[in-house]
C-alpha cells in the first residue's frame, strides 16, 4: 500500500501558496527582516521571518478571528489551499477523514497577551483557552470542513510537523482513515517566547543590523536560529483511491522514522538523529544509497548543524557526499512546529519539479560542515527519493522519506 500527497498549502515568510513559495525558494529569496509585529527594541534577537502580507480578514469572519490564535489562522489558510489543491474528497465518509497537526507552542500569542492582562488585573478574553490550546488548529480545520475522523495534535517541539505527518501515515496504513489533512503551524514571533529562546542562547543576536544574513545554516559565523512563523499542510490518501478519483499525485510518503536521544533536554545527539533517519529509510523500503536529497533540519545554530552533518555521515557513510542537501531555514528561519511540514513541502516540490532549492548565505562553510549543501544556487536534478529531517527539544528526532510515484 502506498500513501500519496495529493494536495498542499503553505503560508511562509517567502510566500503564501505553493507556487509563490517555490518560485522564491528556488531563486533563494530571503524572508528574514527586522521584527515588525511588536516593539523588539528590548530583545537581544531582533530579526525574524514574519508573514507580513497575511490578512485573516480575507477568509475568516470577525467572530472566527476573535476565536482563533494566529497559529490556527495560519493553519486554516494553508488547509484551505491544500483542500482546494486536492480537489473533492466527497468520495470519503466524513468519519474517515482525519486531521493530524503539529505545533510546538500552540496559541502562544494569546497566552502572552492574556498573561500580560492578568498581571495588570484585567479580565481575560472569553476565548483565551480555546485559542491557546495546541489542538485548536486541528479542531478548526475539522470544524470548517466537517472532517469527523481522528483529530490529533502532536507537540514535539521543532519536530512536531514531521511527527504529525508520520502519525497521518500511520492512520492511513492501519486503515483508521481514508484521507488525512496533515502538517504543522506556528506563530511565535513573540516577545516572551523569543526571550525564552534567547535565554537558552539559541537565537541569532549578531545580525540585528543585517537580517538578510542572520539565518545561515552550515556557514561560518552562524550564531543561532532566526525565529519565524508559518504553516504547511498536506492532504494524504492511499494511492489507489487517489488514482480512482483522478487526483494529482505529487509524491509518495514512503517512510517515517522517529527516535528519542534520551540524553539531554535540549542538546542534540548524533545517534538519535541517525536512528530516526535509518528507521525512515528502512520503513520506506529503500536502500541508503537511493537517498538523493535531504531537506536538512539545519537551524543555523553553531552545534546543531555540525551534529546533523555528523549524523548524516554516520548513517550514510561514503554515500553522504553524493547526497544533495539544502536548508529551507536559510531563507525563512525556523518556524518550530511548522518547519518540518514546510520542509516536507520543499522535499516534495524537489521530487515533483526536479529542482533542488539552494541554501542561501553559504559563501563559506564551517569546516565541520563538509557535505554538499547546495550553496546559494539551485540545482536541476531528477530526484526520486528525498528525506526531510526534523529534530526538536526533548531529543525528538523525526525523518520522513518521500519518493516519486
Amino acid at each position: 500500500m502506498h500513501i500519496v500527497v495529493t494536495g498542499m498549502g503553505i503560508v511562509s515568510p517567502i510566500g503564501i501558496g505553493i507556487d509563490r513559495f517555490w518560485e522564491n525558494a528556488v531563486v533563494g529569496v530571503n524572508g528574514i527582516a527586522g521584527i515588525q509585529s511588536f516593539d523588539a527594541s528590548k530583545q537581544r534577537s531582533r530579526v525574524a521571518g514574519e508573514v507580513a502580507d497575511f490578512d485573516p480578514k480575507t477568509f475568516l469572519s470577525a467572530k472566527q478571528i476573535d476565536q482563533t490564535d494566529r497559529f490556527a489562522q495560519l493553519a486554516l489558510h494553508a488547509a484551505n489551499q491544500a483542500a482546494q489543491d486536492a480537489g473533492s474528497l466527497t468520495c470519503y465518509e466524513p468519519q474517515r477523514i482525519a486531521v493530524s497537526l503539529g505545533s510546538g507552542m500552540g496559541g502562544f500569542a494569546t497566552f502572552e497577551s492574556s498573561a500580560a492582562r492578568k498581571i495588570q488585573n484585567k479580565s481575560l478574553p472569553p476565548f483565551s483557552v480555546p485559542r491557546i490550546m495546541t489542538n485548536s488548529a486541528a479542531a478548526w480545520i475539522a470544524t470548517q470542513y466537517g472532517f469527523r475522523g481522528a483529530n490529533l495534535t502532536c507537540s514535539t517541539a521543532c519536530s512536531s510537523g514531521a511527527n504529525a505527518i508520520g502519525m497521518a501515515l500511520d492512520l492511513l496504513r492501519t486503515d483508521k482513515a481514508d484521507a488525512v489533512i496533515a502538517g504543522g503551524a506556528e506563530a511565535c514571533v513573540l516577545p516572551m517566547t523569543m526571550s525564552g529562546f534567547e535565554a537558552l542562547m539559541a537565537l541569532s543576536t549578531g545580525f540585528n543590523n543585517d537580517p538578510a544574513h542572520a539565518s545561515r545554516p552550515f556557514a561560518k559565523g552562524r550564531d543561532g536560529f532566526v525565529m519565524s512563523e508559518g504553516a504547511g499542510i498536506l492532504v494524504l490518501e492511499r494511492e489507489e483511491a487517489a488514482k480512482e478519483r483522478n487526483a494529482r499525485i505529487y509524491a509518495r510518503v514512503a517512510g517515517y522514522g522517529c527516535a528519542c536521544d534520551a540524553t539531554h533536554i535540549v542538546a542534540p545527539d548524533t545517534d538519535g538523529q541517525a536512528a530516526a533517519m535509518r528507521i525512515a529509510v528502512e520503513d520506506a523500503g529503500v536502500t541508503l544509497n537511493q537517498v538523493e536529497y535531504i531537506n536538512a533540519h539545519a537551524t543555523s545554530t553553531p552545534i546543531g548543524d555540525i551534529i546533523e552533518t555528523k549524523a548524516i555521515k554516520q548513517l550514510f557513510g561514503d554515500h553522504a557526499r553524493q547526497i544533495a542537501i539544502s536548508a529551507t531555514k536559510s531563507m525563512i528561519g525556523h518556524s518550530i512546529g511548522a518547519s518540518a511540514a514546510i520542509g516536507s513541502i520543499a522535499t516534495i516540490m524537489t521530487l515533483h519539479t526536479g529542482t533542488i532549492h539552494p541554501t542561501i548565505n553559504l559563501d563559506e562553510a564551517d569546516p565541520e560542515c563538509d557535505l554538499d549543501y547546495t550553496p546559494n544556487q539551485a540545482v536541476r536534478k531528477k530526484v526520486r527519493t528525498g528525506m526531510c529531517n526534523a529534530f526538536g527539544f526533548g531529543g525528538n528526532n523525526a525523518s520522513i522519506v518521500f519518493t516519486t510515484p
Partner: protein, 84 residues
Amino acid sequence: MDTTDLEAKVIAFIASKVDNMDNSTITAASTFESLGFDSMDTVQLLFDAEEAFGVTFDGDEVKTLRSVGDIVAYMKKHPPEAKS
C-alpha cells in the same frame, strides 16, 4: 453623552462585530440572540465592549444583559472609567 449618542455608538460597535451587518438593522430592542450571537458570542461581545468603552460589566449583572438597550442602560448606570 446622552442616551441617543451612546445608543448610536453601541449599535455601530455591535455592527462592526458582525460581517455584513448594517447599523440600520439594529435597534435598542435588538437582542443579541436576534442578531445571531450565541451565548459564547455574547460573552465575547461584552468583553470587546469592555475594551472599546472602558466599562466593566459586573460578573453577576452581566448575565442579565440580553439586548443592545441593556448595554446602553448599564453604561448609563455605570459610566465608563475616565481613561488617564
